[in-house]
């Protein structure tokens, strides 16, 4: 056990510099510089990630003939901005309303998933209660249910509740996920030492305070990641929003699908739209990325 963890900063939930366990020092794996092989692997992974997207950008910066052009040049054409403007100004797409809706839905869902999943994960990982094991297995088992038929009954539920066509119909089913609960449970089971909780309890903190001041800070790195992943997944989700939302009140993927509604599809527009819809996520990356890395670094709270 080491003391710095219980510094006031850690308790108040602010990023606790003291809680960092000397990243990059000593002979730990974390301190090793990656070798040639390591960098090689990363570069390969990055190329594999970027090349298909670059190809999509090539199409998006061309015109309607680019997709089937065998001799597509390797440098982008000049039409990306023009295509992007066409997407944004297309009445049928209602781009800005869709961006706003997507922001609302993704923000609410990811905030909720992070909070409730962390709470449940903390409970499963660190608290003692009857039936814990079987309830946990039940949680995991729910993710194994194939969703392809679930659309019909879920729509029936939503229409009984009178929520069809509203953002609530997209938000509510995602408010807490088995995936999130599973992840936070697994993470907290290693990242949060029991002694910390014991100590807080001995000091008389009630259950929720113990969670809030001990459990939640310890969960931060994993929670940040869960939040980011949930945000992205919600942002890109298509089928259920397509079924349950009105065209006048869409999320981004639903709005963009209007571009593909044609016998022949102008894929330069479609891909321009997709890349455009990805931009806000890139911004999120840049903002959250630093947080996330800081979060992960601070993750080693274990004594």
């Amino acid at each position: 056990m080491t003391a710095p963890i219980l510094s006031p900063a850690a308790i108040s939930g602010r990023p606790a510099k003291a809680a960092r366990r000397r990243p990059g020092r000593g002979g730990a794996a974390a301190g090793m510089r990656p070798g040639f092989l390591g960098y090689g692997l990363l570069v390969a992974a990055l190329l594999g990630a970027i090349l298909p997207l670059y190809w999509a950008f090539l199409i998006a910066s061309g015109d309607s003939s680019s997709l089937n052009d065998v001799n597509l040049p390797w440098w982008p054409g000049g039409n990306f901005l023009e295509n992007a403007i066409k997407v944004v100004s297309n009445d049928r797409v209602s781009f800005f309303k869709a961006v706003l809706n997507s922001l609302i839905v993704s923000t609410v869902v990811s905030a909720s998933v992070v909070f409730f999943s962390t709470l449940a994960g903390y409970s499963f990982a660190k608290l003692r209660f009857r039936g814990k094991q079987s309830l946990f297995i039940f949680v995991i088992a729910t993710t194994a249910v194939p969703t392809q038929l679930g659309v019909v009954p879920l729509f029936i539920v939503m229409s009984q509740l009178g929520w069809t066509g509203t953002l609530g119909a997209v938000i509510v089913p995602g408010l807490v996920t088995a995936f999130g609960v599973f992840w936070m449970t697994q993470y907290l089971s290693t990242a949060l030492p029991d002694e910390l909780i014991e100590a807080a309890r001995v000091d008389g903190a009630n259950m929720f305070k113990t969670f809030w001041y001990i459990g939640f800070p310890a969960a931060r790195p994993a929670a940040a990641m869960l939040g980011l992943f949930t945000f992205i997944a919600t942002w890109t989700n298509f089928f259920w929003p397509f079924i349950v939302l009105d065209p006048s009140n869409p999320t981004l993927p639903v709005a963009l699908s209007q571009l593909q509604a044609n016998y022949f599809v102008d894929y330069s527009l479609v891909l321009a739209g997709v890349l455009l819809a990805t931009l806000p996520l890139l911004l999120l990356f840049i903002v959250a990325g630093r947080q996330l890395v800081a979060g992960i670094m601070q993750g080693a709270v274990k004594g």
Partner: protein, 426 residues
């Protein structure tokens, strides 16, 4: 019924200058008062050619009615959406578009749709179109478009093969039965241009299948696909031609689209909506043209319906709107936008239609051309019966043809598998 509203609607529609609409307008009306603002939702898929301007013009004539269109990417998405919401009992748009291919499944539930029949729209459509929209005694779907088939061809490839290439001569050359089509194909292949005669066995089989009355199913719905000698002989004859004349590019695949741009085949069976596909996939090709001919006279591929589900709250308004939207003028407008050919017979007499040409297809006179093709199909007197299993059976047969074209199986083995796949559908 509110008399003042009826007269008003009638008057407005009269100014819309379509004779067909006056009586239709009179059948409109309903429980809602004339002052009530109503938003009608319209769900379509692919491209029905209903531009925002077209829909806005209805709003202009009927200030109380606003139209919002929801477009699904594909016919499949639209189908899933429709059945999900039919099952849930609500959530459908006021007007739903249904593809002719899965219309038979929808026809099983006439009680869930408003009867759109009126004294006026009786006899306005080609007989097969009305048959497709009728469930029992109820007309649940009004036809939007039909797909009278012609043949699209590449003039440059015809020239390279030493065949005539101007549309009149090509039309003459291709007029005849299927063996004539294959015979010209053999001539084309003999010239060794490097291109194939047609795109795929599957696409060609589509053309054949639409020329029989009970190809896959009897009128009572019994499957006869595995025993009907017409099916087997169509399967075999298409594959025999495919061995030397097909580009083996299965429809709707990326390679098919690429093949269109790359000049891999010289002809395609071509309903009017296919023009948009060809232009979209090969925008840089300047030598496409259309022959006013089709093997065995005429055929029809595709065409959709508009339905008004009873779960909507504005059935009367929706019905009036559908009447307007499927009226000749609007059908012609959609044809010019998206190539969806009018299903109303009156449209064929309109100069707006007969004067239509298509610049991409070497200025082909598509208005008169497809009117001729529609007549040719009507003249065959065949109304293909499509039951609830039609789509699934067609899928199994298409897969069988593709397997042979891909070199995975012999025609005989593939047929055996087709038979077992079709039996599994029962």
């Amino acid at each position: 019924m509110n008399l003042s509203r009826r007269t008003r609607v009638g008057a407005v529609l009269a100014t819309a200058a379509t004779i067909a609409l006056i009586a239709t307008g009179c059948s409109a009306g309903g429980s809602s008062s004339g002052d009530q603002k109503v938003t009608l939702t319209l769900a379509t898929f692919n491209n029905f050619g209903y531009t925002d301007a077209l829909l806005a013009s209805y709003h202009k004539a009927h200030p109380n009615i606003t139209i919002v269109q929801k477009v699904a990417k594909t016919s499949d998405d639209a189908q899933t959406n429709l059945f999900t919401k039919l099952a849930a009992g609500n959530g459908l748009s006021d007007i739903e578009a249904v593809d002719g291919d899965w219309m038979p499944k929808v026809r099983q539930y006439p009680q869930l749709f408003t009867d759109l029949a009126s004294a006026d729209n009786k006899g306005r459509y080609a007989a097969y179109k009305t048959a497709g929209g009728t469930a029992g005694t109820k007309l649940i779907g009004l036809g939007t478009d039909v797909g009278p088939e012609a043949i699209c061809y590449r003039a440059d490839l015809f020239k390279a093969a030493g065949l005539p290439s101007d549309p009149a001569a090509v039309s003459k050359l291709l007029t005849g039965d299927w063996s004539n089509y294959y015979k010209v194909g053999a001539q084309f292949e003999a010239a060794k241009t490097g291109a194939a005669w047609f795109d795929s066995a599957g696409a060609t089989f589509q053309g054949l299948a639409n020329q029989y009355k009970n190809f896959f199913e009897k009128d009572d719905g019994t499957t006869v696909a595995t025993t009907n000698p017409d099916v087997k002989s169509a399967f075999d004859s298409v594959l025999a031609a495919s061995a030397t004349q097909s580009a083996h590019l299965q429809e709707w695949t990326d390679d098919w689209a690429g093949g269109m741009a790359g000049g891999k085949f010289a002809t395609m069976l071509c309903p009017p909506w296919m023009m948009g596909v060809i232009q979209g996939d090969s925008p840089k090709v300047t030598d496409w043209n259309i022959a006013n001919a089709f093997p065995n006279g005429g055929g029809n591929w595709g065409g959709s319906y508009l339905l008004v589900p009873t779960q909507g709250k504005h059935a009367a308004e929706a019905k009036a709107f559908v009447d307007w939207l499927t009226a000749p003028d609007q059908q012609i407008s959609a044809f010019k936008t998206a190539g969806n050919f009018p299903s109303q017979l009156a449209a064929y007499k309109s100069s707006a239609l007969t004067g239509a040409t298509n610049a991409f297809f070497s200025n082909a006179p598509i208005g008169t051309l497809f009117t001729d093709r529609a007549k040719a199909f009507a003249d065959t007197g065949v109304i293909p019966f499509k039951g609830i299993k039609y789509g699934a059976i067609m899928g199994a047969v298409q897969n069988g043809l593709t397997r042979v074209e891909q070199g995975q199986q012999s025609a005989a083995d593939s047929w055996t598998q087709v038979v077992s796949d079709i039996k599994a559908l029962s």
